[in-house]
């Protein structure tokens, strides 16, 4: 069996799955229950001067019948007295000495930082995570993302912490910034041992159409919250990659954002994370999801021959390039497997309206046909096709040529003028604009019985 254990900047954990600092780690009861279920570590709900929270704290984004593809909260840090949290941390560490307990911290003054780091160390934590990410409430008080957005302030606070910390220090970064590597570099300059990202994204998850107020609604009003859940994974992956690829950051990364199953976790790891943190999925489905996550990770590692997590950390990074370094000679075109096609024609309408008019319909069949010379290989049809492996993208170039935008620019073969002959779409066929009119089947007509006994009721002017 592969070894799932990690040593993350000196923090040891039986597996890379940690609960993120959030409601699931609000108490010793929850953390113990999670460890008992199989979680490797937990970042305790942020400690600081206890807050007072509002009622109505979470909002969700549903997609059709799928609940919580996105999630946001306006809850603040722990509202429990520090001593209660520390006592419970001590108890958890006694019961689970080999699991990772990390104290998330957020205070203001240098003295407060020193005090809370020392107190947490005394309680037996394995490390610290400095919460410089919370984008709601706390930032209005000069903490959380207000710190994460100011690299100089961030660096200074990290330095304060490092003055007394005897355990590894992780800096948690906010994504509410244009370049995530700047605060990451500041963390490194301040002496941090690791970074974790992303914290939540400033958001409004929805507006109540009757009350005209944003969710979650507090007495008829709302405020921006922090967005997380499956929907944010792509943003998180990109930021993890940015930090992992930066030549000067060179810190272990704890990946956070949209992790719900082993696949999500592996993606974070392949882009450079060496531990992962989960919150929304645990809030949605409970701690039991860890069973699928560890089993899936183990199975994947066995299939790939990875013995430890470190065999796969950052394995996808060499394949993430700048756009200008991609091979422009590579060419794929869509291929419809007629035996699998069920005739929904979503590919047709998607290509017609959303891409390059490279799919046509033929009389007597519902199976569309690819117009190969128009196909630019954009993937759209294969993405909308509801049947597995029905539309595949097949390589059509020889595979021997290689030319990048950068090389074209250097060689002076890149288009530079408005009417440039070298433009990619210069000789690509598009229909005449007026050909768009009069296509009755392309409209969703307003509910009229469209065709009865072969007679169409479409008005003449349509």
């Amino acid at each position: 069996m592969p070894d799932l254990s990690i040593n993350f900047a000196g923090i040891k954990s039986p597996n890379p799955f940690w609960l993120a600092s959030a409601p699931p780690t609000n108490s010793g009861y929850q953390v113990m229950k999670a460890f008992d279920a199989g979680w490797g570590g937990a970042v305790w709900k942020t400690l600081g001067v206890p807050v007072v929270n509002v009622s109505s704290r979470y909002g969700g984004v549903n997609y059709r019948d799928k609940r919580l593809v996105g999630f946001n909260n306006i809850e603040l840090i722990s509202d429990r007295p520090l001593s209660h949290n520390l006592r419970e941390i001590e108890e958890v560490k006694k019961r689970f000495p080999n699991h990772a307990v990390i104290a998330s911290l957020m205070v203001q003054s240098r003295q407060e930082w020193h005090d809370i780091v020392r107190a947490s160390q005394d309680a037996g934590v394995d490390g610290f995570e400095l919460n410089f990410g919370c984008p709601h409430g706390m930032c209005e008080r000069g903490m959380g993302s207000a710190v994460g957005q100011e690299p100089k302030v961030l660096q200074m606070i990290v330095e304060w912490v490092m003055e007394v910390a005897q355990k590894p220090v992780i800096v948690k970064l906010t994504p509410n910034i244009s370049d995530i590597t700047e605060p990451a570099l500041a963390a490194r300059r301040g002496g941090a041992d690791a970074i974790s990202l992303i914290n939540t994204i400033q958001s409004i998850v929805g507006v109540d159409l009757d009350k005209f107020a944003p969710y979650p609604i507090v007495d008829g009003k709302g405020t921006n919250g922090g967005y997380c859940g499956p929907a944010v994974k792509p943003i998180a992956l990109n930021m993890v990659k940015n930090c992992a690829q930066h030549p000067d950051i060179k810190l272990p990364i704890s990946g956070i954002g949209g992790i719900e199953n082993w696949r999500d976790a592996v993606e974070h790891i392949l882009l450079g994370a060496s531990s992962v943190q989960v919150c929304t999925a645990a809030m949605h489905f409970g701690f039991g999801i860890i069973r699928e996550m560890t089993s899936g990770l183990e199975q994947y590692m066995m299939e790939k021959g990875f013995n430890t997590i470190y065999d796969m950390v950052g394995k996808a990074l060499p394949n993430v390039l700048h756009w200008e370094d991609l091979n422009m000679k590579y060419k794929v075109t869509a291929n419809i497997n007629e035996d699998k096609c069920i005739g929904c024609q979503l590919c047709y309408t998607a290509c017609e309206d959303g891409a390059h008019q490279a799919i046509k319909l033929n009389a007597g069949t519902r199976v569309p046909e690819i117009i190969e010379e128009n196909c630019v290989g954009c993937n759209l049809c294969s993405l909308v096709c509801p049947v597995e492996q029905c539309i595949t993208m097949e390589q059509t170039d020889s595979g021997t040529e290689h030319l990048t935008w950068k090389e074209r620019t250097e060689a002076g073969t890149a288009p530079t003028e408005f009417e440039d002959e070298k433009a990619g779409g210069r000789h690509h066929w598009v229909p005449e604009p007026s050909a768009a009119l009069g296509k009755e089947r392309h409209k969703t007509l307003p509910g009229k019985a469209r065709i009865i006994n072969g007679e169409t009721t479409v008005p003449a002017e349509a």
Partner: protein
């Protein structure tokens, strides 16, 4: 033991005849509508005789616009709720759903349709109304799916509409002929009440039009007459003993059943003659009424039955046994039915022939003849110049429904020879527009 115990209360009847397509709740509708792919030029629309924009109403349900969904449905088909429940969706919209080709369960379009329509019927939300009065009047004979649909469309076009109905309730076979497990009387009549409240046509119940004099009065009083008269009684077979007690027609049996539920008695052993959908219904219903043995006797082979496969499956599922390649020659008995004398048949080159000397008697205490309904040729003969085809169906223009007597228009079973509620509803909408075109000249 019989498959079902004989129902003696309304509740037991409702259990034995539990709805095949119960109304969805909001959660189920959300889940089911979420599965719709929103096909381009969707096959389900093409498969619907009334051309309902199905992906549109499903998308409306999915986005929480249930009222808009109901509007989409009713704009295409006034029997929106009835059709959702009684249509053979397996061979229409749901049969055309592309999911079938992936061996995935098709979208439950019928139930989604009823979900949306039931909601507005219950709330009574006003979605439609009569058009501005154009001063012209149309008489509608028959308050079935054709007549009611024509009345709604004509009212929206501004006509005054009076419906003359022989029976005491509207909706025709929807309340008198459809199997009770497909739709309840309450559901049917609620939709009729909803439509009447929306469009405001008049219905004269228990007002059969059956004489030349009555027709003349209508011809004098109205600008056009719409024939939505449907079909007549069950065809006589012309067999000896057909008049015996407990030998009944399926149409008559089902009409009784719909009106009197568990008070209708069924034999202990029932033989249903026929191989069409009505035969399947009568057989299923006999079983659900507590008959111990129900035999479905058909003169040709199983594969040749006119009934939809799912209807036969439904009958088999409640214990009905098939008896094929047998033709009835006599109903035996002494006052009451005691059996049916059959002769075995064989099909060669598409022709059925009897096998000499193969007669046998299958004992039973009830016979239900599901051998088709007669055309109302006698009544139709009272209309001057009205032409019928060789099968007794009214001949009318395919696009306008106008008959060979220009004042008369037709739709539904009397025109198409016997089809589904949805066909009548779709045809009547078209014919109403045909009347409008004719009277607007």
């Amino acid at each position: 033991m019989a498959e079902f115990s004989t129902p003696t209360t309304e509740q037991q009847f409702a259990e034995n005849f539990a709805q095949l397509k119960p109304v969805m709740n909001r959660t189920e509708a959300l889940y089911e509508s979420s599965r719709c792919l929103f096909c381009f030029d969707a096959p389900c629309i093409k498969a619907c005789p009334s051309g309902i924009d199905i992906p549109q109403f499903i998308r409306q349900i999915n986005s929480g616009n249930d009222t808009g969904a109901a509007r989409t449905i009713y704009e295409a088909n006034y029997f929106g709720n009835a059709c959702g429940k009684v249509c053979p969706t397996e061979v229409l919209c749901e049969g055309a759903c592309v999911y079938n080709l992936q061996e995935v369960k098709p979208i439950e379009i019928g139930r989604l349709q009823s979900f949306a329509t039931t909601k507005v019927i219950k709330s009574g939300e006003k979605l439609f109304g009569p058009g501005a009065d154009n001063g012209k009047k149309v008489a509608v004979i028959g308050a079935g799916p054709a007549g009611i649909s024509a009345a709604c469309e004509l009212r929206s076009l501004g006509y005054g509409v009076d419906i003359y109905e022989a029976k005491a309730q509207p909706s025709g076979l929807t309340v008198y002929g459809v199997a009770p497990y497909k739709i309840t009387n309450e559901e049917t009549l609620a939709e009729m009440a909803y439509l009447q409240a929306q469009f405001g046509y008049n219905v004269h119940f228990n007002s059969a039009i059956s004489s030349r004099e009555e027709l003349e009065k209508l011809e004098d009083k109205y600008d056009a007459i719409f024939l939505g008269i449907g079909l007549g009684k069950t065809n006589e077979l012309g067999l000896p003993g057909e008049d015996k007690i407990n030998c009944t027609g399926a149409v008559e049996f089902i009409a009784e059943l719909r009106q009197h539920h568990h008070e209708v008695a069924v034999g202990r052993k029932v033989i249903v003659l026929g191989g069409g959908n009505t035969a399947m219904d009568a057989a299923s219903e006999s079983s659900r009424l507590g008959a111990e043995n129900v035999i479905l006797a058909y003169r040709r082979a199983k594969e040749e039955m006119g009934a939809y496969e799912f209807e036969y499956d439904l009958a088999k599922g409640v214990g009905v046994k098939g008896l094929f390649n047998v033709a009835p020659v006599e109903i035996t008995g002494n006052g009451y039915v005691t059996g049916v004398k059959f002769i075995r048949t064989e099909t060669k080159d598409g022709k059925v022939s009897e096998i000499a000397g193969s007669e046998f008697v299958e004992p039973c205490d009830m016979v239900i003849k599901a051998t088709g309904q007669a055309k109302q040729t006698e009544f139709l003969g009272l209309i001057p110049g009205l032409k019928l085809d060789g099968k007794g169906r009214i001949i009318a223009n395919a696009h306008t429904g106008q008959t060979s007597n220009p004042k008369y228009f037709a739709s539904g079973d009397a025109w198409n020879g016997g089809a589904e509620v949805v066909n009548a509803a779709a045809e009547a909408k078209l014919t109403a527009r045909g009347i409008h075109a004719y009277l607007s000249k």
